[in-house]
Amino acid sequence: MTPSNKASDSRTYYLFARWATGCYSHARWVLILTLMLAAACGIYIWRDLGMNTDTTDMLSKDLPFRVNLKHYNETFPQDMDTMLVVLEAPTPEQAQVSTKRLTALLKRDAFNFFDVYSSDVDDFFSRNALLYESVPELARITDRLAAAQPLIAHIARNPSLRAFADVISGAVNELRTGRDMELRSVLGGVSATLDARLSGSPRELSWQSLFQGEPQKQKYRDFIVVKPRLDYSQMFPAEQSISALRAAAKDIGITENSPVQLRITGEVALADDELNASLRGMEAAGVITFVLVGIVLYFAMRAGGLILNVLVCLTLGLILTAAFATAAVGHLNLISIAFAVLYIGLGADFAIHFLLRYRETLENGAGPQAAVHISGGEAGAALTACTITNAIGFYAFMPTDYRGVAELGIISGTGMIISLLVTLTVGPALLRYLPGRLPAKSAKKKSPIGRVLELSLKWHKATYAVTLAAAVGAVALLPQVRFDYNLLNLQDQKGEAIRTFRELLAETDQSPWHAVALASSRSEADILAQRLAQLPEVSKVVNLTDFVPREQAEKLPLIEEMALTMGPITISSGKRAADDAPADQLKSLEKLASTLDRFIADRPDHPAAQPARRLRSSLDKLLAQLNSSSADEKQNLLSAVEDDLLAALPIALRNLQTATEAAPFNEQTLPESLRQRWRSQAGEYRLAIYPAEDLNDNDALRRYVRAVQGVAPDATGAPMVSLEAGEAVVRAFAQAFMLALAGIVVALMIVLRSIKYTVLVLIPLLLSSLFTAAFTVLLNVPFNFANIIALPLLLGLGIDSSLHMVHRSLNHELVSEVLIHTSTARAIFYSALTALVDFASLMLSSHRGTASMGILLTVGLAFTLICTLVILPVLLNAPTRTPIGVPRTAGRKDAG
């Protein structure tokens, strides 16, 4: 070691030694002053520290994808920050009615909802639905409706179970005598409805499905796009709007048990769910962490006073760092809030190193004041090096595009400096009062940790071999290290918003994840749409043109013909169940049963025979249940069945009526709320580009985004944003790590004045990074937007640990056999363990991003420990065979 190094080192040593002694002597004043400072900072933070929970702001505004998105959001602001309300009902009629009522209710609440847009746009699509059908399809619809017209007319005139049963009987008789009619869907629909009632999960019969000649689906969906008021000063910006939305749903009778179900998803709801899972998870994790950290500290210190010392230093440092954040940044974002976690991890590390060193010196026979002097000086010198390298590591994020992490970098980097000062100011001052008396534990006894570590020194060749093999294996795995762009994978997968969202994603034609492109004119929009639609990655492209049906001149007479043929069917409201005696209703049902029997007997091979048999068996079950019921039950069941069968009829008829009133329209006469979603004020046209594949898959996402960008380079939307943001983040981290590495190397060279020792510090760091990266492949926990934040901490602790070891070995010329028994090794072990329990609790979080961060940190710290405590001593041993020409400093020979 060069003299200058020694000199600078001893300058640092004496500076901190004297500072620590001073603080120890004037403990009372130091403590009073820091307490006052802490109180002042506390008030300042309370008053001025904001919270910015807006996740979109986390990446630099200048990135091309953010520029595109910004332009798009300015052009079509109604799509920004929206919730998607999904209403699901067993019939399209119920879905439609609920959607209409909820939309109306939400529109009235202008305080919570800026914009409410239902998929039917004020009945526009129900009114013009037929115009969107093709010409041949219109003729088919008319045929189908004409065939059903007499049946519908009869039931409408007398919408009762009796009349319905009689009409079906009549129709089945006609079928039996050879008339050509399509009764299969009616028979099937009725038997499914009866079965549903008898099995205890009743659902209404959808007349609309019958009219359309489709089998009734399990459920029907309707959407409302809601732009809620968001209050970013709140921890949960959307909480109030979401509660208001749920209250409104309850008002119109949508509850957990109602046939119509409401689910909320979309950007805002997902963000709210995510915040909920990650923040509420943090509270529980915080409590567990505190307890576990306490336990680990107890094992490290075995003295209540020292533990309290660590905790006081931590708390104080946290307050001061938060105060710095308030002054320098003004707010915390979702990532920089993690500074607290980083600080606990690294701050505890600092305090543990200082206090364990103090204790070791004390055990070696020094008096308290001398021990403060020595440990203050030595820990000060070592921690300064750590602080510099760590601060460089964190500050390296400042110039990157990832603003969320850049802010974390400023706060945490400065936090390191604060931590150093707090540890060496408050730590010594507290020692005056807190430690009381340390347990007189035999210092000479080798700790169990040390004894385990001896093994690796004994088998150093094996250690080399294993390390080398593992390193080669890890390098081989490196190409498989992935970054998961999918933000949905970070969330608690049990959340309502996420499950709904994934369901919608899987149905690619409704995918809420689709790209959007802008075109400056209508013709350009049409050309672009055509080119995009040809891509195999694209399922369909929608633009304003698609909302103006073609061949309206041909279709309108056909619709007119349909209206005329159907006639105005009005439902009679006078007669209902109560008017029919149960005995009469029963008689009609029995008549229907016998008619079906006759039909099945006469025409066993008729296409309608199968549904007829099914209806017959449903009727059997119904009649059996009716015959075994009391009079009251009988009446109730019959009226329930009547409701199931006929409740949706009036709505279906009204819709049919509405649909036949379609009038010609063009782009100019589209409803304003619809048109402005597709053409901006400034005349730009929006194209929605739907993916052909489920974008839950990262590879599909990349293929889709690149293909679309090939045709429309300025396209934006959630798929673009998540891919581009992911790449920006990866870029930011790569850039920051390169910068950090370079900075750390330079800092180490200055502090250590030795290439060899610089390399020795870096080797464990690089090895543990390598192993951790390889493990993300083995454990299938790819890097993502959340756990990548753990990397700066791993970097920090990794440098700290190996630097401490090298420093201790360097300053005291210790051979590794001794080194592993020093307080330094113990401090590294326990501070890593503290960090480990700090983060292991994250693994239990329901937020998958947080949990993956816990996994990454746990794995990373485990490797850091192995590399610094097992591999590094072996490496350090190698040089001892070629001794360094600097004599040991007699006064500081204090090996444990």
Binding site: D143, P150, A153, A156, R157, E174, D180, L564
Partner: protein
Amino acid sequence: MNVVRTIKSFIFQIFAASLLIAPVYSSWAQSQSAGDPEQVVHTLHEALIKAMREGEKLGYQGRFNLLAPVVDKTHDLDFIARTTLGANWTQLDAEQKRTFSEIFRKLSIGTYAGWFKSYSGERFEFIESQPMPRDQVMVRSKLIQSDGEVVRFDYILRQGKDGWRIINILADGVSDLALKRVEYRAILQRDGFSTLIDMLKKKLALTEQG
């Protein structure tokens, strides 16, 4: 013969084919037929009552001749014929169109003549007239039997160049156009035009037997 009961049982056989309608000549009717929709319907009703009252005396052919001009005046038969065939109409050649329209007209008149052949106190009663989309009007009425039984007749009318004309009739809500469309188009698409014409001729012959 009990017209109401006959019609009722007929309507109850909801899917049985074509509907009624029959005319009686009336100078009053002629003068009023160019008037408003209610007048048009009234004209038809007058003619039908007359056909019933004089039914026995006139015989089928007499009733047919009586009703033919009234039906022609009150109904847009060409339009109804065209509409029943839907898109298939445009695929027919001019000769076929003429053939179909002609037999359709005869069948329509013949059906009236077949149904309304005797009188036992029936009367028509006007209920209301209400505007419909596309400038159409619906005139609602009912046919009341002497014993009080009722069939509702709703007429859809539109204004052509010759004034208001009936273009569809709903008997107890069942659309005449719907019934005919289903039946005719099925035959036309399955068996072709000549089978359809043969079927219509058979139907016409049946109206004579009542």
